[in-house]
Symmetry: C2
Subunit: 405 residues, 2 copies
Amino acid sequence: MSLIVQKYGGTSVGNPERIKNVARRIAEARKRGDNIVVIVSAMSGVTDNLIKLAKEIMPLPNEREMDVLLATGEQQTIALAAIALHALNVPAISLTGAQAGIVTDGVHTKAKIHNITPKKVHELLNQGNVVIVAGFQGETSEGQITTLGRGGSDLTAIALAAALKADLCQIYTDVDGVYTADPRIVSGARKLAEISYDEMLELASLGAKVMQSRSVEFAKKFGVVFEVRSSLNDNPGTIVKEETKSMEGVVVRGVALDKNQAKVTLVGVPDKPGVAAKIFKALGDAAVNIDMIVQNISHGSGAPQTDLSFTVEKADLLKAQKVINALKNKVGLRDVITSEKIGKLSIVGVGMKSHTGVAGKMFETLADAGVNIDMISTSEIKISVVIDLAKGEAAMKAVHAAFIG
Amino acid sequence: MSLIVQKYGGTSVGNPERIKNVARRIAEARKRGDNIVVIVSAMSGVTDNLIKLAKEIMPLPNEREMDVLLATGEQQTIALAAIALHALNVPAISLTGAQAGIVTDGVHTKAKIHNITPKKVHELLNQGNVVIVAGFQGETSEGQITTLGRGGSDLTAIALAAALKADLCQIYTDVDGVYTADPRIVSGARKLAEISYDEMLELASLGAKVMQSRSVEFAKKFGVVFEVRSSLNDNPGTIVKEETKSMEGVVVRGVALDKNQAKVTLVGVPDKPGVAAKIFKALGDAAVNIDMIVQNISHGSGAPQTDLSFTVEKADLLKAQKVINALKNKVGLRDVITSEKIGKLSIVGVGMKSHTGVAGKMFETLADAGVNIDMISTSEIKISVVIDLAKGEAAMKAVHAAFIG
């Protein structure tokens, strides 16, 4: 008898009919003789509605109270899911995050899990129940309700799978698994049977938004093998796990295109120590996340000057511009140029560690396709380039064809 | 510095605008220098929506899970109310029933409060907070979420006022207080400055639906003086308390008309021991609540027979008919006649204990108004009569004029 942790997101439990579908799926899994723990999110729309209510009262509501408010979303789903299992004659019982023993720190709206004591979960499983646990939430050791922030329900599932030493952790979502590229753009994209944590992390941060990075990091840290699969069909999904020798045979696991970046170029930056530090410290203080940074070699006839480019999320561009404009005279910049018409194209694969010439092949492919490269950034298992947004999808197709087929 | 417990019902907190109004009211009370504990219900409509969702999944959902589900309604309001106070710069913090120390038995959907340990409430008050507590809910000593059933938030307010030894408990509602009669029917109806627990109990059970009987019973048992008043204006409401000598000077405190009753007459009931017992036992087993019972003297020429009439809530009439029809042949009834066109008119007053001739005056008044009396039932402080529904309001006006003016 195995212990399986299943997680269903907000779309999968979006209304009573869908909750009944999820219950049928759980009931089938249980018929195979396994113990099942289920993590559910709030029904889609519920959390947004609650946030809207709160903001109608106060634009920046207190975070402790937002946690009290938002935790109700998942609490509603656990009860409804348990009822749906009862309707199928499956014994089931719901637990809030606190009841399931999920203890967090006190950082409201983005709490970190401190520890999990799943005594109650074990007890209820031993009594023959499917145990339904509210995702996204926990409580502090002083009994304050907390929530885990974006992607929190995935995190609950993976952390609980680790604490329960589950045999399998399944993340049910509205996609079939992890693909070599977005199949809506690249018709030849294939579903991956498996992927390493590191590859998944790179893809997660590159705009292939299957899961939040923190859940994958947690799974990596505690060695939780999990499967990303669809709640709409019975197809096998993608297994995410520690990299194996055989994985290194594949040079490029996936290709991702992030259309959500913007580029800032600072023209005529005095090329002397401490200038870049001053600029990026100010941006960090304003909570602007910097992705890539490229600095050109010094040029100019008088005092040495350089050009400095970096990328930020589009949502942060205005904030970044304000910070830079405030510094402009103090630091002595000649000009600031921004562009939202960029795309970041990346290839990811643990096989790059043991294969050479990958970058060269990528750049050549792009050149053949008439795509100019604007910025380059690499890691051990990833190469990213910034290109013209208008050519992004064509570039993605060409690179996918060259490396994956 | 006084400690005031205020309770606001679902209509008073029905949307963000109304929650802001409630917050303004609380802020004003706090400006007077008092400590304030606030009990809130779910926003109007929220609980009904949740019940609807659950019933779409299963017609008779599990009661433990219904409690998990429904407790979210009040939890949402406490957070929103705290946020609304923050918006007015009033320090406020929310507590669920469990966090406020409300421990109940394990009878889900209609739990009884076992005890309250308001340590946390005291702590937070001492830190200068308005403390907002979720009505209608608690938890068992094993940490199961429970709800208190209909009128549960009033009960939370009164029980918490008792546990905190509050100086005042205010039940804010959408009526101005308790009236001598329904002012929509009797234009001369007056708001009462005060009323005894017993009178309030009789009126509560007689269709003057200001509060559920159990909350008034709880207040009586623990000597909690409370005020029923409107959340829409600043008028003083009605104080409900133990009866005083001065109250006995008033013979009739109020007149109530209950249009929600139906009458069942069993014709030709064999007049022998055990027949009535059999009938009412079967009705009790079917959870049909019987209100008044009248049995005529024996008649008939053959074996002694009698007619037996009783009243039930209209909602229970079909169920009662089924029970009676199943018994009809076994018991030997000649006929069953039912009527929904009845009204129950009652006068209530602790002064009746020390005044005579009250019943006679009531019957005379009705006779003068051409109203026939169908059934009569009395207690120490109440006289009820069943009359023709069509004449109900006219009868009420006549009786109010005769006793109250």
